[in-house]
């Protein structure tokens, strides 16, 4: 007779064990982040000040601040997003809405983007140097750095946006078509708003990658740590600054710590902000006229 009240001990301990392992692994992952944040705070918080954030570096970064570095980073990021986002989102819309999934064209585009996503960033840097800096004559400039980053961001932006659009239920497309809405109207009025959270998440990933990029900017936007006067000036990105301080500048450890702390806090706040923004947008879209 099968006793429903009998406790199977082995099953009970196994459940417990699996739960325990999962908890420990999750804790481990979080611990890495917390330890990193703790270490950065310990090493860099004392050095942080308003002057550090606004002044230009002096004595190869040992003194002064990171004001000009922040401006260069922002400019590079803006150039990259300005070029990459429209390109990527239109490509994604084309791939998911206007081209059959199995078409040769779609497959080719998708395959090339996948290959592009796997290319190491140093290769992008060399390509950017050869193409934007030398061939197009942009030199070591924020513009060539931004354009190189745009190439790097394309795969991630396209794939997230395409996945987001594909995740929108087919019933919306059918209903919209049955009401005689054009494909363009359907895309702009229904599909893109419905996919907005995913688009925002992809944008975030892109921004995160762009802000943290070092190797691709080494040969394209250059080392110059002065305040940039135009997009054609060379400008040093934050991640590159950290790399330079810790590898090439003896006695640059403390400013390196402080810069890294700024970078991580920046990434964190961009993440939180964009998440809130996407949520708010979606709510507003549903609630308002």
């Amino acid at each position: 007779m099968f006793d429903v009240f009998a406790i199977n001990r082995w099953q009970y301990y196994r459940e417990l064990l699996v739960q325990l392992i999962i908890y420990i692994l999750v804790l481990l992952v979080s611990a890495v982040f917390i330890w990193l944040l703790f270490d950065l705070t310990r090493g860099g918080l004392a050095h942080l000040s308003w002057e550090f954030l606004t002044e230009s570096p002096r004595d190869a970064g040992r003194a002064g601040g990171i004001g000009s570095i922040l401006v260069s980073t922002l400019l590079i990021l803006l150039v990259a997003l300005f070029v990459a986002v429209p390109l990527a989102w239109t490509t994604a819309a084309l791939l998911s809405e206007f081209v059959p999934t199995t078409s040769q064209f779609g497959m080719t585009v998708r395959f090339s983007l996948q290959v592009l996503a796997g290319v190491p960033s140093i290769v992008f840097g060399l390509f950017g140097n050869a193409f934007f800096s030398i061939y197009l004559g942009l030199g070591f400039s924020i513009l060539s750095g931004g354009l190189t980053l745009a190439c790097m961001l394309l795969p991630i932006l396209v794939s997230t946006a395409e996945a987001g659009l594909r995740a929108v239920p087919q019933s919306y497309r059918l209903s919209a078509a049955a009401l005689g809405l054009s494909r363009t109207a359907t895309l702009f009025q229904l599909l893109l708003p419905a996919a907005a959270p995913t688009l925002a998440a992809g944008l975030l990933l892109g921004i995160g990658r762009a802000v943290a990029e070092t190797a691709a900017l080494l040969f394209t936007s250059g080392y110059v740590d002065r305040m940039p006067g135009s997009l054609l000036d060379s400008g040093r990105a934050l991640a590159l600054h950290i790399f330079d301080l810790s590898m090439n500048v003896p006695g640059g450890d403390t400013p390196a710590y402080a810069s890294a702390l700024v970078l991580v806090v920046l990434l964190l706040s961009i993440n939180i902000m964009a998440m809130k923004l996407a949520y708010g947008l979606q709510r507003k879209r549903i609630m308002s006229v």
Binding site: Y172, L174, S175, G180
Partner: protein, 287 residues
């Protein structure tokens, strides 16, 4: 403070039960058999597999035509061929001819968007857009060039009254359509289709995802719409088909392809079917 006071203030807009389509008529009057949709030798294939084989059928103006038959016999495919929704399905091939008001809709000169405006469709699963209740109706209107605010508002109110939803939602037009109940969502979808003042309404099992009460409300609505619109409805509910339809078409699967077995007056199909398959199906012996 009396908790009811707040409510009273909220519903100060004109919420009442008035229908604009007039009272419910049971057993709609039989109409003149004037064909509005003429289907000739319609065959439909999905990636080379035949789903529908040589269907020839006339749909009459102002009548309700019910399509009945077991699952997989091509009723829904037939419906989506009429408003060319089959265009959206990859590898779907349509042969034969469908004429609406005498014009071939598979002609390259046919404006598909205008066609779909003329032929509304309601799906099996209620599919309101993830927008506000109001925008669900105004979005298609605006896309079809009806942008004047007063016109848009009066059409919105009219169609919501037509489907009996006005008094339920008039004080919360700007809340999410997805917050409505299933039956309300389906009526909103019908209202959305009616807002474009189509001539023909295609309904793909509009009641099958609803509970009996909501289903009854939608069924009454469909009866009320007859005479004003030409309705083609797919239903698995034979009793429902018998209650509301003027004509019925019976589909069956032969050699893995859907075929039209019998078409005629609803009463004839149910009471004196000429084909033995029809008799077996409507009497619940097969299918």
């Amino acid at each position: 403070m009396n908790p009811d006071q707040g409510k009273a203030v909220q519903t100060d807009c004109e919420c009442d039960d008035a229908y604009t389509l007039g009272p419910l008529q049971m057993g709609p009057p039989c109409c003149d058999p004037e064909p509005v949709i003429q289907v000739e030798d319609l065959s439909l294939q999905y990636s080379g597999k035949t789903a529908l084989q040589k269907v020839t059928l006339d749909i009459y103006r102002g009548c309700i035509t019910a399509l009945i038959g077991p699952s997989g016999c091509g009723k829904t495919s037939f419906l989506s061929a009429i408003n060319r929704l089959t265009d959206l399905i990859p590898a779907c091939q349509v042969d034969g001819r469908i004429r609406v008001d005498g014009r071939d809709i598979y002609d390259s000169a046919c404006n598909v968007q205008a066609l779909r405006r003329q032929i509304g469709m309601v799906f099996q699963k209620p599919a309101p857009f993830p927008l506000s209740i109001r925008r669900n109706i105004t979005l298609p209107l605006r896309e079809h060039g009806i942008t004047q605010r007063l016109t848009v508002e009066s059409i919105t109110e009219q169609v919501l009254r037509d489907v009996g939803l006005w008094n339920e939602v008039c004080d919360r037009m700007d809340t999410a359509a997805l917050s409505l109940s299933g039956g309300q969502q389906q009526r909103l979808c019908i209202a959305r289709a009616l807002a474009l003042s189509p001539q023909i309404l295609l309904m793909d099992e509009p009641c099958s995802a609803l509970d009996p009460i909501a289903s009854g409300v939608v069924e009454d609505l469909i009866s009320r719409l007859s005479g004003h619109y030409t309705i083609v409805i797919v239903t698995h509910n034979l009793a429902q088909a018998r209650r509301i339809a003027n004509y019925a078409a019976f589909f069956w699967v032969k050699e893995r392809a859907g075929q039209l077995v019998e078409f005629g007056h609803c009463r004839d199909i149910f009471e004196s079917p000429t084909h033995e398959l029809t008799a077996a199906y409507v009497n619940g012996i097969r299918g």
